[in-house]
Subunit: 285 residues, 2 copies
């Protein structure tokens, strides 16, 4: 069996590494516009060969689209065009609405499976890929009824084999939830990083006075702009609503502090504390 | 030598545990309004005795004020009143301006040292205290010239002994910097927690779809409201400015997303990425 990984970065690379361990005889072809990434992926043993896109697709039983979401949208029709009649394409993009719309317009729609692994780090590129990224995490599959049974089954089997738990929903549900539980926290971290860097011109001051609490909250501000700009753009309606809600809570919190209204301040934080239950669950996962 | 810990929580308890290891013969007295905390602190071996405030202070060479900052402000005059002529009081509060103003009005000001360890977790109480919290972290001392040399030296020696690195600044500098590198990240996390909980009425959905990135960004929303409400209140001018700056960046980011201005979106994130240098430093520390 031959698998092509289009975009050999953190996610595509980690999926390949996890699969290789399970299926040592599986052949992996890498496709990447960056020569450096291609060389690193070969050197790290993520892929066996690097080929041009259409050549790789034609030879593959499974094609994994793991590029930034705008590139997934652009490449998907070409990949489906060149896919063998028994092939499957799965994408790992962080938005699902627009990608599924593009897929729906293609005559080979049924050979496509829309997926999104709930996993990542603030690092990117093949150097950041590691075998343990996906095991134990959740995978969301959208519009499963639009994928033909063999393509869906292959996708589900492989992701279960690397230790993922599967969930199903519509692309609209996916994009709405993700705006809140993922996209918003990235924007919150990027804006926090900007605010602190803007104020503290002297980086040494941040360094001397910041604790691990600051590091944790701002960590996602290290994430790849090339990956995130298209996500925010593709999911802009939901992201914009989530941001509006967040700004409104911050504005209320500021008012409460300005008014020295300690009772409401306490109430806000006690309500936020409920998140402990959720986080304790995620950490135990 | 006898040390009293007023407020036997995460910070006071961790300081006592670290000191005990270095000085096994040091005697520790705990003072706490919570009977449960007092019992836990005794059971965990954080303190040898629990006594009422004035009794504990009268017997102590060093008194450590480790309560929420509003309580520090209220207790400091009483503690100084009852302090022996050779005693030292140090506070560990996260704000320094108002506490130093209160101290300045007391005839025994010189026996007080204003300190703030750059360390903490989102957990609180004696159960959360651990010996390794302070070693390797930074301690800020404010207005050192107002403390008499022996009191300052004792404080510096003990914090160095537990492995902390000392920095000096004015209370005004401290409160301004901390608004950005600590207080703001707590508010950002509390508001993020509230926004997500408000939207996602079904906690299971957050649980299924959130990744470790979300956990990390929202982690500080688990922090103690009783500790943080008085910090935001005491430092409200700086916190309010920091929040205004943060809200303005978020508003701009939202506008950029609404306008589909991917170039500016990329630019925002690339500027925020500079935080990587600072964070890599903190993590290696």
């Amino acid at each position: 069996m031959t698998v092509s990984i289009i975009g050999i970065g953190l996610l595509g690379g980690s999926f390949a590494l996890a699969l290789r361990e399970k299926y040592p005889k599986m052949r992996f072809i890498g496709v990447d516009t960056s020569l450096v990434n291609s060389q690193l992926a070969l050197a790290k043993g993520i892929v066996d060969d690097v080929l041009p896109l259409t050549e790789a697709v034609a030879q593959s039983n499974l094609v994994v689209l793991a590029t930034p979401v705008n590139v997934i949208m652009n490449l998907l029709p070409t990949v489906l065009d060149h896919l063998s009649p028994s092939g499957t394409v799965v994408d790992l993009g962080s938005t699902k609405g627009l990608i599924c719309e593009v897929a729906d317009q293609h005559p080979k729609r049924a050979q496509f499976v829309a997926a999104h692994p709930m996993a990542g780090t603030e690092n990117s590129g093949p150097g950041a890929a590691f075998r343990e990224l996906l095991p134990g995490k959740n995978l969301i599959i959208c519009d499963r009824e639009k994928s033909q049974p063999d393509c869906l089954l292959l996708t589900e089997s492989l992701f279960r084999d690397v230790g993922m738990k599967l969930f199903y929903m519509t692309p609209q549900e996916h994009d709405l939830h993700l705006a809140y539980v993922s996209h918003l926290s990235h924007i919150s971290a990027f804006a926090l990083g900007l605010t602190v860097l803007e104020k503290e011109k002297d980086e040494q001051a941040i360094f001397d006075m910041a604790s691990t609490g600051f590091s944790s909250t701002v960590r996602l501000a290290k994430s790849s702009p090339q990956m995130w700009a298209p996500i925010f753009d593709q999911n802009r309606t939901n992201v914009s609503s989530a941001l509006a809600d967040y700004i409104e809570f911050l504005r209320q919190f500021k008012q409460v502090i300005d008014d020295q209204d300690v009772t409401t301040s306490l109430d806000f934080m006690q309500r936020a504390n409920v998140i402990r239950r959720v986080l304790d669950g995620i950490e135990k996962r």
